[in-house]
């Protein structure tokens, strides 16, 4: 079976599993899968900023927080979730664009610290500005949305709602990374000096990468709020940003499916390892360390290396065959 055919069949099987599987799961199982969707969306955003455009960000958790609070406040006051979601995305888009400006001057770990400072600032606002965020008490009784006339109060209905949003985002994400923008992001990550000499306005693309990535963080947050139906500051502390970073890196930074896989591992693996009781976090940490030693480019990096090696071997064999045929013709 050719690789492309394999990918199509695998995608269909996964899609079918996501549609049918949750019917047979408990409420908790559906909650975990919905959380995977939420984290996947946030990780997709970070993958665009970090994986494709090469801009380090430790603020994705903060954008999720902004999205969650904006959506919680709006839906509590009667606004429909789609409107709240768009507002969250827009607010985070603007904030992300602004956060992109430091990236025009600093890079790598310096940029990581700038974004970390933003994440800390956001956390302080969530905790201290009680008049709007509810402070340490957070915001409770966040309603779940209606889809057309149907309420999504049940775990299955809300799971499908989340899945629908993920489907739309996955399509847009696919179009983006395959468009000239995706190529420009990659050029920006690999070699910004050369990219600029080819007419690529690196400043503009850096800002765009931050803005889109942050907006997706906002969308993830606006699904998180009705999923948990309660938002509080600790949920969006710096460790969430680190967890999202881990998802992108473990899944495969700069690969389309990387965030989906990374989120799956980060959300599900601790659940699967629960039978080990107190050891599950240790095992999880050991697995992550082992993976990054074996393949710093994540799980999909292993697959990519295998495919590249295979293609190179085939191409080398073809070239050798052509060369020997040419030699025989000469004789």
């Amino acid at each position: 079976m050719k690789l492309s055919a394999f990918a199509i069949v695998a995608s269909l099987v996964v899609a079918l599993g996501l549609l049918v599987g949750p019917i047979f799961l408990s409420d908790y199982g559906r909650y975990i899968l919905s959380m995977w969707i939420v984290m996947s969306i946030a990780a997709i955003g970070l993958n665009l900023t970090l994986g494709y455009a090469g801009q380090v960000s430790l603020a994705q958790g903060a954008f999720m927080g902004v999205g969650a609070y904006v959506s919680a406040l709006m839906t509590i006051h009667g606004w429909p979730l789609p409107v709240a979601m768009l507002t969250s995305a827009l607010v985070c888009l603007v904030l992300g664009w602004m956060l992109g400006y430091p990236a025009l001057r600093v890079q790598h770990h310096y940029l990581a610290f700038v974004t970390l400072a933003f994440a800390s600032l956001a956390f302080l606002i969530f905790r201290n500005e009680e008049w709007i965020t509810g402070g340490v008490d957070g915001l409770a009784n966040i309603p779940r949305p209606y889809f057309l006339w149907m309420a999504t109060d049940g775990s299955l209905a809300f799971y499908y709602y989340c899945l629908g949003v993920l489907g739309l985002i996955a399509l847009g994400y696919y179009g983006l990374v395959r468009s000239p923008w995706g190529r420009a992001f990659l050029a920006l990550r690999e070699n910004p000096v050369r990219a600029m000499s080819l007419g690529i306005d690196t400043r503009r693309y850096i800002l765009v990468a931050f803005a889109i990535g942050s907006a997706l963080g906002g969308v993830a947050g606006s699904l998180f709020a009705p999923l948990v139906q309660f938002v509080e500051p600790p949920a969006f502390a710096v460790d969430l940003s680190l967890k999202l970073l881990l998802m992108v890196i473990v899944g495969g930074s700069g690969f389309y499916f990387g965030p989906f896989l990374g989120a799956l591992i980060a959300v599900l693996l601790p659940e699967w390892l629960r039978f080990t009781q107190g050891y599950y976090l240790m095992l999880y940490a050991f697995f992550v360390m082992l993976l990054l030693v074996i393949s710093p480019s994540g799980i999909l990096g292993i697959a990519d290396k295998w495919i590249t090696d295979r293609k190179t071997r085939v191409a080398s064999a073809a070239r050798a065959a052509t060369a020997s045929a040419f030699e025989e013709t000469k004789q």
């Binding site: 468009s179 000239p180 000499s197 080819l198 765009v208």
Partner: protein, 247 residues
């Protein structure tokens, strides 16, 4: 012939050291100007000052009579100025074709059409033509990182021509390229110069390559212009022989 590029009294100082010290020259339309000189004489720094990679300490650069000093490289590229670097600068993860599409995509449409328009920005045909022109057709779908050094060097040069530039600055295009590839590269550059009327400025250490390709040669030494003239005049210039060419 009109002047495409005018460089006036360019200086670039790093602390107390003048990497380029008052260099002036013009480049005329359709010309191939060679810039030679010993290592560290300021050739690449001069390129970087002209192309906006570095801000010159003093001096002025004009393109088609308009001052472009301090413009960003991407803005200059959109004005029709392209370049290659001393070290290879292809994108190893992309295929040969994708590298070429990337090299011209920003010249097509605007940000919005590049997002929602065709994936190849309508450049596959142009890329394939360029691939054929540089004799890389059998490698079109290979990742650039898997190509030999010489093939990557050809791709690097091809990328500089994808956007149809008027002026191309090539920094040591022959460095590390074997003789067969070098002949191929020279033929391609001459063809583009003749057929499209593109103007070149070439930094190079390979004297045979420079003397057979360039119509005029500028010699730099210690950040200053040591001599300027036809290739044959430069070969015979005693100052150039002493400072650079040797006996």
């Amino acid at each position: 012939m009109s002047k495409v590029l005018e460089v006036s009294n360019i200086q670039k100082r790093f602390g107390g050291i003048y990497a380029v010290n008052g260099v002036s020259f013009d480049v005329h339309e359709g010309e191939i100007l060679g810039i030679i000189g010993p290592n560290g004489c300021g050739k690449s720094t001069l390129f970087n000052c002209i192309l906006g990679q570095l801000q010159p300490t003093e001096g002025e650069v004009k393109l088609d009579g308009k001052v472009v000093t301090g413009l960003r490289p991407c803005d200059l590229n959109r004005l029709g100025v392209s370049r290659t670097f001393q070290l290879l600068q292809v994108f190893p993860q992309l295929t040969v074709r994708e590298n070429l599409i990337l090299a011209a995509q920003e010249h097509k449409g605007n940000m919005a059409t590049r997002l929602i328009g065709k994936r190849d920005a309508g450049l596959t045909g142009d890329a394939d033509q360029m691939i054929g022109f540089f004799k890389l057709a059998h490698l079109a779908d290979e990742r650039a990182g898997g190509l030999s050094y010489g093939q990557q060097k050809l791709l690097d040069a091809a990328m500089a021509f994808m956007s149809g530039p008027r002026l191309v600055l090539l920094d040591e295009p022959a460095g590390g390229v074997n003789l067969t590839m070098l002949e191929n590269l020279k033929e391609r550059l001459q063809a583009i110069n003749k057929e499209q009327g593109a103007t070149f400025v070439v930094i190079e250490h390979n004297m045979d390559f420079v003397m057979s390709l360039c119509t005029r040669v500028l010699v730099l030494a210690e950040g200053k212009v040591l001599a300027e003239g036809l290739p044959a005049e430069i070969r015979a210039n005693p100052k150039v022989i002493e400072a650079y060419l040797g006996h």
